[in-house]
């Protein structure tokens, strides 16, 4: 039973995913990732200790995949919390995962993003920018999902948040050009792809630039183009907020691109 449920909070999607991770551990090893002879011992382990690493008999590659606190599973588990404005909880959970995987770039980047989002909601834009930029240094994060934008509501159109996006875009653009010039992409996580730039431009209402970047993605057919799903940029959910990207939906260039990507 997930730590937050043991503490008497209601079960959530992440608590089921916690149990799924534990179940996979049991299938792999035949035992639990926590020790304890009594229920009391077991629950205090779950609340206070990181899960046991998989035994050496499990092959290394698989051990990483199935680790219940693997970076991937940890990030997936907290992902639904942010839209519910449960940033404190998400940040605390990621912190536990970071204790086990202190060098994981995605976890660290995501942690910066969540802290940044919390600042955004408090209207502390300078602090938010600093967190997002710190996140850039470990792994590129576009930052601020549509749900966050929704919760910002009226604050969305404030000059503060526009300045926030503009500063992120400036840094990302500089990164993008630097990476192109170096012709080395340290890791896919770091590389500021045209797609990510397109997303940022869209948020700022730079529709022409965003569409040009999406065309670049399409023409280059680099690895990222395979994952382009334009509705992930302009999801119905993000459209709940009357943002500057609104008009892209009916833009003939965008509709044409959708058609070429095979999305009617």
């Amino acid at each position: 039973m997930a730590p937050e449920v043991l503490q008497g909070q209601p079960a959530t999607v992440p608590s089921d995913i916690w149990s799924l991770g534990t179940l996979l551990y049991e299938l792999t090893t035949g035992g639990l990732p926590f020790t304890g002879r009594t229920d009391f011992e077991l629950s205090s382990q779950i609340l206070r200790e990181p899960p046991r690493a998989l035994p050496a008999s499990v092959p290394a590659g698989r051990a990483q995949e199935l680790d219940p606190l693997s970076p991937m599973i940890a990030a997936m588990a907290v992902w639904p919390l942010a839209p519910l404005d449960r940033h404190d909880e998400a940040i605390a959970q990621l912190q536990r995962a970071l204790q086990v995987h202190p060098d994981d770039e995605v976890l660290r980047g995501y942690q910066h993003q969540l802290i940044g989002e919390r600042y955004l909601r408090q209207g502390k834009f300078d602090e938010a920018v600093a967190e997002f930029l710190a996140g850039f240094d470990v792994a590129f994060m576009t930052g601020g999902g549509p749900e966050v934008m929704t919760s910002l509501g009226e604050a969305y159109s404030s000059s503060g948040i526009q300045g926030f996006w503009q500063r992120l875009l400036d840094v990302a653009t500089a990164r993008h050009h630097r990476d192109l010039a170096l012709a080395t992409r340290e890791s896919p996580g770091h590389y500021v792809t045209p797609y990510k730039l397109a997303e940022l431009n869209l948020r700022l209402g730079n529709i022409d630039r965003a569409l040009a970047l999406l065309e670049e993605c399409y023409t280059n057919r680099d690895e990222n183009v395979l994952f382009i799903k334009p509705w992930s940029i302009v999801t119905p959910r993000s459209l709940m907020v009357d943002g500057p990207w609104w008009s892209v939906r009916s833009d003939p260039r965008f509709l044409d691109l959708l058609k070429r990507l095979g999305h009617p």
């Binding site: 449920v5 089921d16 534990t22 299938l27 035949g30």
Partner: protein, 182 residues
Amino acid sequence: MSLAAGAVLGHYETVGLIGAGGMGTVYRARDTRLGRIVAIKLVDDLSARDLARARLLREAQHASALNHPNICTIHEIAEADGRTFIVMEYVEGRPLSDITRGGGLPAERVVAYGTQIAGAVAHAHDHGILHRDLKPLNVIVTSEGRAKVLDFGLATLVWHEEAAHAPTTPLPQSGTTAGTIA
């Protein structure tokens, strides 16, 4: 409170005991109208309490909307002789907890079962239903290797009941403990 073989509950007739635990007693039963074998879960301790029964009904109704090859189907929630019970698909197989008792499984089987169970959980989450007590004991593996997850959404009931009574009543040691620790 348990039923003897041949006991009649509405148009169901018990033919054997499957097990006690989780949140009640589970019987193998024959649906005398449709002539098929089903599993019946009788939630003895809760049937008497109206609030608990209302919750049970609501949860089971939600969970009965799930239709997935890796989720044990709930056929109906029925009442007879003042008892509320859940009628569900009878799945012939072994609980996953039996299969892992001898130690970890080979990687292929971990992946085979893991993807089926994850698929079941994803389907339920898409329909707004949590499992709340996912563990190997709640997964039955059939002889063809299909994993079936049992008791979606049901575990919460007893857990909440226990929590509500915690200050005055010690937790029962067996039988009704649905929310297990791990």
